[in-house]
């Protein structure tokens, strides 16, 4: 048995659809914890309204945000997985079909960057990055729609032999550039090293890690803790109107490189849309989140 074109088409469309209608459990828990520790009265209320919006989206099967963003997938192919058909085309075809059938309909967010024209289709859309998973016999799909609100503020800069102080100062510089703009409290992904493209990919992947999880690398675990405190000391707060809760998490990962060291930083807004599932050869779907 093999993973099929149809299976991939159906699942990837569902993952995008599901991601629009509820926020992940870890994110709700993060918001609840923030509500307990937040000292700014206005921010406490904004956090409560956020949780109320998330709950109402679930109860009424509504989109949490009218900006459904564009579909972004990370695909991990098991090295022992078998498939048939053009699974790359399946992701495109699944999105095309979803656009025709989803209720309520999506707004046109797919943008041609050369003309700023917007529609439902475009070059290289959905945006997909492909990885391999050693020893696995399944294909894992994670979906994280990205929209202007938080996507706009991602940044990268390349340093030569930076110290941790240099890297952390750059993270704070990018946090200041984003300011009140990215629908905080955000999840911040930081990618250090590798090459330009690898650092960006690491930063993006880091945002998928559950809030509250501890980085297995002690150096990075300590960095994440102190950066989270530093970001929350800025005072931008929920929706940028003041408070102690500007980020719910800072997640850092790295790759070895040459000595020229790109540092990439990206943000997910507070709704932190994210779904993930594995597709097995027998056609079964293992929904992870």
């Amino acid at each position: 048995m093999a993973i099929t074109y149809q299976g991939v088409k159906t699942l990837t469309a569902q993952l995008y659809d599901w991601s629009l209608r509820r926020i992940p459990e870890d994110t709700k828990e993060g918001l609840r914890r923030a509500r307990q520790t937040e000292t700014h009265p206005g921010a406490q209320r904004v956090l409560e309204i956020m949780l109320g919006s998330a709950l109402r989206a679930e109860q009424t099967d509504r989109f949490v945000c009218s900006d459904s963003g564009v579909p972004v997938f990370q695909v991990g192919i098991g090295t022992n997985a078998k498939w048939e058909g053009d699974i790359k085309a399946a992701i495109v075809d699944g999105f095309d079909e979803l656009v025709e059938t989803i209720k309520p309909p999506l707004l046109k967010h797919v943008t041609n960057p050369l003309t700023n024209e917007r529609g439902y289709k475009g070059k290289d859309m959905p945006l997909v990055s492909w990885d391999m998973i050693s020893g696995a016999d399944y294909i894992e799909f994670a979906c994280q729609p990205k929209a202007l609100g938080s996507g706009r503020w991602a940044a990268a800069e390349t340093f030569s032999f930076p110290s941790l102080a240099d890297i952390e100062a750059y993270v704070m510089k990018v946090v200041m550039q984003a300011g009140s703009q990215h629908c905080p409290p955000v999840i911040i992904g930081v990618g250090i090293g590798g090459s330009f493209d690898v650092a960006a990919k690491i930063a993006s992947k880091a945002t998928y890690r559950p809030i509250g999880s501890t980085n297995p690398e002690p150096v990075l675990a300590a960095m994440e803790e102190r950066l989270l405190r530093a970001v929350n000391a800025t005072g931008f707060g929920p929706m940028g109107t003041g408070g102690d809760t500007t980020a719910l998490a800072v997640h850092v990962d790295y790759a070895s490189g040459h000595g020229y060291t790109p540092v990439a930083i990206c943000f997910n807004c507070w709704i932190n849309r994210r779904t993930r599932a594995r597709l097995h050869a027998d056609g079964s779907v293992e929904r992870m989140e």
């Binding site: 989109f63 300590a222 405190r229």
Partner: protein, 209 residues
């Protein structure tokens, strides 16, 4: 959620109500608002201004909010909005001072705030900025009572200019008031002032780690 504690204000805001609000206040909105999430829409309004023509929806002393919506034909022949949510206001910064002054807007809004030039125009005419919850589509959409008017249908749905009747829209935060106070500017200034101390603390944490 119980929102009964919040003050309710009638939209479009009277100049008096606009001046009665202070940055940081949280309120619920009742009445009529005009919304769009489109840059091309703003350019068209400016073109109307320059040609001395009236825009297709009255804006004088009104509200112009950066909210995007999906509207479609309803069974009764009217229009219905399926969902509505704010968009980032700062990308309209260069255009807003002229619009605020020309139409004497009493309220603008969206998310993320507007810049100092907008704040100055708002203080001049008596206008406030409402900060809406991003990711608030389920709440904002539930406050819609009727779609009164839709203009510029050739644009994608969220760019159209739409006049909507709402009840209990929000709570929204007064991000910029009509007296020259902007939460966005003061918070950014505080964060900038605090940054040397934040970087010192990071250095101490690294040394202790």
């Amino acid at each position: 959620m119980n929102f009964s504690e919040y003050r309710r204000v009638r939209m479009p805001l009277s100049r008096e109500d606009a001046r009665s609000l202070r940055a940081g206040d949280m309120v619920l909105l009742d009445g009529e608002i005009v919304i769009t999430a489109g840059l091309p829409t703003h350019h068209r309004i400016l073109a109307c201004m320059e040609k001395g023509e009236a825009p297709p929806i009255e804006l004088q002393n009104g509200s112009l909010l950066h909210l995007g919506s999906y509207s479609q034909d309803a069974a009764d022949g009217g229009l219905e909005i399926l969902y509505m949510n704010p968009t980032t206001s700062t990308r309209f910064n260069p255009l807003m001072p002229r619009l605020i002054r020309h139409y004497g807007l009493t309220s603008v809004g969206g998310k993320g705030g507007l810049d100092a030039a907008c704040r100055a125009a708002m203080q001049e005419v008596g206008c406030v900025y409402f900060s809406f919850l991003g990711g608030g589509a389920p709440l904002h959409s539930a406050a819609i009572k009727a779609v009164k008017q839709v203009a510029w249908n050739d644009l994608v749905a969220h760019y159209r200019l739409v006049r909507v009747a709402v009840e209990g829209l929000g709570p929204v935060t007064v991000g910029i008031d009509a007296h020259g106070n902007s939460l966005f500017e003061s918070i950014a200034a505080d964060a900038t002032a605090r940054m040397p101390a934040i970087l010192d603390q990071l250095a101490r944490d690294r040394a202790g780690a």
